[in-house]
Amino acid sequence: MQLIERIKQHTGIALIDRQQVVSYEQLTQQAEQVANQLASHQLVALVMENSVASIVDYLACLMARAPMILISDAEQLKQYAEYQPNFLLYNNQVTVLAPVNTTQQSHTDLRLLLSTSGSTGSPKMVRLSAQNLDANTAAIVEYLELDSTARSITSLPLTYSFGLSILNSYLWVGASLVVTETSITDKAFWALMKEQAVTSFSGVPFHFETLQRLRFFNMSLPALKVFTQAGGKLRNEVLQAFAEHCQANQQRFYVMYGQTEAAPRISYLPPDYLLEKLGSIGISVPRGELTLVDENGAKVTEPNQEGELVYQGENVMMGYAANRVDLGLGQGKSVLHTGDLAKRDAEGYFYITGRKSRFIKMQGKRISLAHLEETLKQRGVTENACLGQEDKLVIAYADCQHQPTIVAYLQELSVHPAFYQLILLDRIPYTNSGKVDYPLLKREARWL
């Protein structure tokens, strides 16, 4: 894998946390030690925290060619029983969970399994290969113009594809990363930003909304040069404020778009076009191709016509997996139907206009509304309908006794009450064709 080969050749600082500075040589050495305890093509469940030890473990799995499932705590292990992980890896400690299995080897190229949605109990995973990850990392490094002087900070969880892509791209070029579990609402986070002279900050819309509320524009962070934003649409007013701030301070702001299925980056808006193309997701990443197709699968060539956004590139996942056997499958077609509807302007810039499939983004995490409805039904909320948009979820239900079940489930998904509304109806409305009448519900909800 190119990423690993490059890391082995770099010198200088790789990681910094509260206690230590880790050089590329030390990082490689530590990862090799852990890698020696793993076995190639045998599945690892890796407890991934924003810590140096977790990054060592992650690189160890890549070195050992042992595919991994990233989990945020060992408790989550039971959700992935279908995959029969062989090892549990946490804090450089390897625990054998199941004997090494030579009959059910995973595909040689497989490196990473990532969950597709924020919903728990959905064991469907995205299969990413060494080639997928390398291709995407190389593209990101190119359009962000990253070099070894860059320094970022783990403002996003490393279990999240966006957070992980920052780690990969910084290590690719021999740059450094400040590793912290703290978040932007912690004093310690800002102390690290200043003391460690962080040059780049990445976030989902929530982060930028929060920065604006934190009167971020008054802060003195002379080292900060670059912002990257993905994980959903940031409101144009907020974008505008950042664009103006960046212009005045010689900073670059990248709006980006992606999906876990593309490892994850698909498009970016060159920062010089931020104001001119406000609200656009930009153009394809280098060596990828973005097109629009209509309902019949035909290419949309006219500008400003809506179609489903389709991406093609080497970073498109191998495919999905539902169980251990699927890990033996190879690379599928490198074409990704995103499920997002978009338009392209006359100059080739794309704008998301809506969603074909019923997914919403909640704090950057994708939630399938159909999966939500299904899970609630399984838990006894027989009559329910879910709808929503970015950071707004509405659940309609028809029996007041079901309210605690719904609230408990949303808590499991870490959806804050400020982002959802429950509406109690006499019954869930259906159209004449027997489908849930979502337009009527939307009017009922008023909030959307």
């Binding site: 609402t185 912690d186 986070f189 509320r213 802060m219 808590q411 870490s414 804050h416």
Partner: protein, 79 residues
Amino acid sequence: MTNNERLVATFATSLNIEASQVVDALEYNTIPQWDSVAHMVLVAALEKEFDVMLDMDDIIEMSSVKIAKDILAKHDVVF
């Protein structure tokens, strides 16, 4: 309602916890309900309830119920 009651009610609603849990010693990031997302919801709710405008230092220093009171006191809210 006293200012203390208003504060407790705002915390309870914003963090989605019982009013009885809102005690001076309750700290940010020690319960799952008070994470960074809830923190910003809380800040907005406190600003509205007490008609104050908190600055960045206030927001990132507000790491417990007790400190929230101290910060609001700086903005002339008497407890």
